[in-house]
């Protein structure tokens, strides 16, 4: 994952759940109808709303 461009509180919340610049994420699922994406970060699963997920830019590995 490259970086997060979001508000301070959102960035903090994501970081608390282990989603921060430089970490590896696996996208498990993405819900239909513009629903959230389900992300695996270091063993914990986090559902992130689509709008929020757009602010997380990633670099795709392998």
């Amino acid at each position: 994952m490259a970086e997060i461009v979001a508000g301070q509180s959102a960035t903090r919340q994501l970081a608390q759940l282990g989603i921060r610049a430089g970490t590896r994420l696996t996208v498990r699922r993405s819900a239909p109808m513009g629903g959230p994406v389900l992300v695996d970060s270091g063993g914990s699963m986090v559902a992130i709303g689509r709008g929020m997920a757009r602010k997380v830019s990633v670099q795709i590995l392998e």
Binding site: Q8, S9, A10, T11, R12, Q13, L14, A15, Q16, L17, G18, R20, R28, R29, S30, A31, P32, M33, G34, G35, P36, L38, G42, G43, S44, M45, V46, A47, I48, G49, R50, G51, M52, A53
Partner: protein
Amino acid sequence: MKIALVGQPNCGKSTIFNAVAGYRAATGNFPGTTVRLAWSTVRLNGHVAELVDVPGIYSLTSNNPAESAARKFLLRETVSLIINVLDASLLSRSLELTLELRELGIPMIVCLNMMDEAERRGTRISSRELSTLLGLPVVETIGYRGVGVRELFRQGTQQLNQPPRPAEFIAWHRDVETSVQQMQGVLESISHEHRLPSRFLAIKLLENDDDISREAGPEAAAAASRLRARIEQTRGRAAESVIMSERHDRAMRLFEQSATVTRPRSDPRAALDSLLTHPLWGYVFLAVILVGFFWAVFGLGSLLENAISGRLDLLTAYLLAQVPKGGLEHTLIASLMDGVQGGAGIVLPYLVPFLFGLAFLEDVGYLPRVAYLMDGLLHRIGLHGTSMLPIILGYGCSVPACLATRILPSKRDRFLASVLATLVPCSARSTVIFALVAFYLGPMWALGIFCFNALVVISSGWLLARIWPEISTGMILEVPRYQWPAFRIMARKVWLRLREFVVLSWPLLIAGSLVLGLGAYWNLDHYANVALSPLTLILGLPVVLGTTLVFGVLRKELALIMLAQALGTTSVATVLSATQIVVFTIFITFYIPCLATLVSLVKEIGKKMTALAAVYTFILATLMGLVARFAVPLMLGR
């Protein structure tokens, strides 16, 4: 003496609390089960202490009211011991909070909970190594089985009066550390008296914490902003983010030095999850689970209702045969037995299976998945996906549902979620639906009412979101692992919720039944019914039902029992038409929430908003009752 259980959401604090305090705090497998402090006086190795279950926090910077309650408690109260509970399978992340808590200078012990889960994940932790590095005692536990809990409290009480010493290992990078120490110097030069350690205050000031900055005064705030600017200059990003990374770095290093990661055992739950969150099958299973839940509750409930009601009918008939007909004694016995039968014969048969089902869904960890599945739809309407948690809890009882809205960050979202949660039929109202509609008209009708209700809740959400437009912040919700619920814990949770009915509502029900019976005996109910006749007329209900609607404000299931009392028979179908049964049920389901809910609504969203909610639900109930009055005959084909 206060002992606080502190840790990240869903790490099992409440389970450990209950293991010591008896089942007092509801537990569940979703983040934010505990939204307020739970207290219990316990006796531990000769000490009498107040054990406090603190809502889960990710850090000492709070994101929602539940978290600020926790922070306020830790920062303002005199706590003698912190038991820091960690989910061992998420060790590295959890240690970030441990490092922050350590700065508070309060005696502390670390509890590595869910050790079995960590092992399954292939994480092997040396608690001795961790203890040396942290400079704190570390105890391994498996909370839901009670393993290690006794040892935890034994070592914890030894730790009293021993605040954590500074540990070498935890020191930060030189440049940041210098800034922290300079900040500390400024604070100490201003005043020597601080309730909290100066290092903690210094770090919080560098993190630009609003509360602490205000408290520390302008001089300290000015110094803090100078030091922040310096950090930002050298590191090239916000000071807050630099400090968070420092903590993250230390936590990672602690993790690497105390744990080894091997291959995780293959986990069948991952396969289950990919099915239950599937973009198509996920919704199919959601529908199947909900409908299956409905059928199970109805099937079990009607079986029990028939068995119990039949017996009680015989008993009532026997008792009534002993006294002369038409006398006061006759009325007394008849209304008393109506109340008894209402509880044992009508409410309990549906309530018990319902609560068990809900406890199962909560403990297994399905609720956050529902929130995930529904977020897309809810977001379209203008709601926050996490709102789904309180709304689902509303099916159990509206009171905890209103409390659960504290996990939502914005005030507007909390208002919307609490209003919608009260519109959802709680277990009391579901009982009315099961015992009246399903029992007399068939389960399909009851299912129809549940679906109709869901539709109204969604449209209400849409409407209210338009009235108070605000862009909902995106959902960020941790989705926990599935867990097979321990039956013992589920049973105790069901009892915790059932007790309220048995000790509070049931006596009220019997008393209410007596009041109504005596009222009818002396013809007093006539006046109340006349006063309410405009409403009953509009809805096309018999005038005698006016009083029962009033009783519904006290407790929703009272309306059901009163119905039998007012009509003078328990076989409702002989007196009411199918349409009237549906109209009555729908009106009861939607109109003004019960007294207990109103009280908790006032606490959560304020008097004005509660009044607004009450008026809204009353109008909604009347309108929906009218719709049913004209739609049901069409559906019956008459």
